[in-house]
């Protein structure tokens, strides 16, 4: 609703105008430019590049690993959030703050460190690879490990406030009606937490799909086997194949936007399901 005449508080035109110009120059026009560039080629050309064998393999690696990592994160993220809210232990505040490490640690640092840890002679790798014979670094499992690291805070920070908001009366009511603790968890708590858990899962997945820095060191980057889409975009750029890079970027962009839309819908749903309760999704990539 707009008022034709004056507004009491100053700065509306200035602040909105500045925001719009800034966003347009920095975000909208560049994104439009990417779409415009891809529109210069024919549909057949676009399709051929987008579905080339190496590209398809890259999508498979990217989305497969991201999905696996997001599933692991949904499970452990819920666990960590639960433990942080419900249990008292020494150093809890320290652990709570520490969960945000992946937000604060540059991805390149995470990349080289995880690689060193999981390499055949690394602290973890010497047992997993040396003893069990299972190769993590320089193979797809390494990508999953990096993506778990990157994504875990998303789930914890999304689920944690919802657990904090659960009123103890709900569980007491379930118990008074004869439910066991396990039944209470599955039938009462999990459905309450589900929207937040799904949102955290989607955020973690969305971040993992676009991730580059932490993955390239540990992945091994073998075309068709352990090459992620962002890396393929870069290698096309390095071969001066701007058109090819643009096509892959558009594909990733469309998928990201669909994910963003899905996440927004999820949050809307979660916020409206619990009437009036504010669900803070804590998106801070």
């Amino acid at each position: 609703m707009t008022t034709k005449k004056h507004r009491v508080l100053p700065g509306f035109g200035l602040s909105l105008g500045y925001s719009l110009v800034y966003l347009s120059l920095l975000v909208l026009i560049p994104l439009g430019g990417l779409i415009a560039r891809s529109a210069q080629m024919s549909l057949a050309e676009f399709w051929a590049i987008a579905t080339a064998e190496r590209a398809l393999a890259a999508y498979r690696v990217t989305f497969g690993c991201a999905l696996l990592a997001a599933i692991v994160n949904a499970f452990f993220g819920l666990l960590v959030a639960w433990v942080l809210v419900r249990y008292d232990f020494w150093g809890k505040r320290f652990v709570d703050a520490f969960v945000d490490l992946p937000f604060a640690l540059p991805t390149a640092v995470a990349g080289i460190t995880l690689t060193t840890l999981y390499a055949a002679n690394g602290w973890i790798g010497q047992y997993v690879e040396g003893v069990l014979g299972y190769k993590v670094a320089f193979a797809p499992p390494g990508i999953v490990v990096a993506l778990i690291f990157i994504g875990i805070p998303f789930v914890v920070r999304t689920v944690q406030p919802v657990i904090e908001d659960i009123e103890p009366e709900v569980e007491e009511a379930a118990a008074s009606l004869g439910a066991t603790r396990a039944q209470t968890f599955v039938k009462v708590l999990l459905p309450t937490l589900f929207p937040a858990l799904l949102t955290g899962f989607a955020l973690s997945f969305s971040r993992a799909v676009g991730e580059y820095g932490s993955v390239i060191f540990i992945a091994g980057n073998m075309p068709m086997v352990s090459e992620i889409t962002p890396l393929l975009i870069i290698s096309k750029l390095e071969q001066y194949d701007v058109a090819g890079a643009t096509v892959l970027a558009v594909v990733m962009l469309v998928i990201s936007f669909v994910l963003l839309l899905g996440i927004n819908l999820l949050q809307w749903w979660a916020a409206n399901r619990h009437s009036g309760r504010h669900v803070d999704a804590g998106v801070q990539a």
Binding site: P102, L105, A108, I112, L117, W123, P168, L231
Partner: protein, 290 residues
């Protein structure tokens, strides 16, 4: 201690199992990597570590990282405050669309973000020929790295401020205006003190991301040692040259940055929680006279 188990708690063995599992996970995936950064950096002792840090290229990379952050943060700070002011204090058509647009960079892969600016300023880009003609270098140079970092960190400050300013409402600002304050006086004396912790929180997060950004900057940087290498890019170069101590020494600086970030973030969160608690506290008992 009462013998009756609390209803809304798990049995002791289950509790211990869950705690152990959570700790094991956090240690393996977060604790061990952080330890490894410093362990690898100091693998050959303190001497080589200090020497690696004192490398001119490493120092140049640290300098460039700080320069980029110092240039990017004020711009995004002004944007964040402006956007939050418009969104939180006024009603207008398309407000939720604007809010979504601000979040957009979160959904874009850093590599794609870098590519966006190559398409505009690169040799084959829109302004490429014009820039080449006038001998202006944006891509593979500092301006490109700054623009890419700006893109990546656009949402951070705005996202912190919008919910905070919405929750505070506009009563205090209206009161200031009705008492005769000018726009600037109102903002500086009333609005700014109310959002200072949220602002600082956003700056801390944006700074961590700006200093640590790898993918987007990597695409638009020329990777010239000592010139267009930020610290994360320098880590990559050293690592790929099998200079493990050098790479991890540089990485340890970023690791320290992460620890400082976490500490500052926690302190600010604590301050903010204290302020909200103070505001939501029960009113003191009513006393109408002395």
């Amino acid at each position: 201690m009462s013998a009756v188990r609390r209803v809304n708690s798990e049995s002791r063995p289950v509790r211990w199992a869950l705690l152990t599992l959570a700790f094991l996970f956090l240690f393996l995936f977060l604790g061990l990597p952080l330890l490894a950064v410093f362990a690898e950096a100091l693998r050959q002792g303190f001497g080589p570590y200090a020497a690696a840090l004192a490398e001119p290229d490493t120092l140049a990379a640290i300098r460039l990282t700080v320069v980029v952050a110092l240039l990017v943060l004020p711009l995004n700070l002004v944007f964040g405050v402006a956007a939050a002011w418009a969104i939180a204090k006024f009603d207008f058509r398309g407000k939720s669309l604007l809010t979504t647009l601000i979040d957009l960079p979160f959904a874009v892969s850093p590599v794609v973000a870098g590519l966006l600016f190559i398409l505009i300023f690169g040799r084959q880009g829109w302004f490429g020929p014009w820039l080449a003609e006038h001998d202006i270098k944006i891509i593979f140079a500092l301006p490109g790295m700054i623009i890419a970092t700006m893109f990546i960190t656009v949402p951070y400050i705005a996202r912190e401020l919008i919910p905070l300013m919405q929750a505070q409402g506009k009563d205090e600002e209206e009161a200031a205006v009705s008492l005769g304050a000018s726009g600037w006086q109102m903002f500086r004396r009333v609005s700014l003190p109310n959002i200072k912790w949220g602002l600082l929180y956003g700056v801390i997060l944006a700074n961590a991301r700006a200093m640590g950004e790898f993918g987007a900057v990597s695409v638009v940087s020329g990777h010239v040692r000592g010139e267009t290498n930020t610290l994360p890019l320098h880590v990559e170069i050293l690592y790929n040259e099998y200079n493990s101590v050098g790479a991890f020494a540089a990485a340890s600086v970023l690791g320290l940055l992460a620890l400082v970030t976490l500490l500052a973030k926690t302190v600010v969160e604590w301050r903010m929680a204290r302020e909200t608690a103070m505001l939501n506290a029960e009113l003191p008992p009513e006393k109408t006279d002395k």
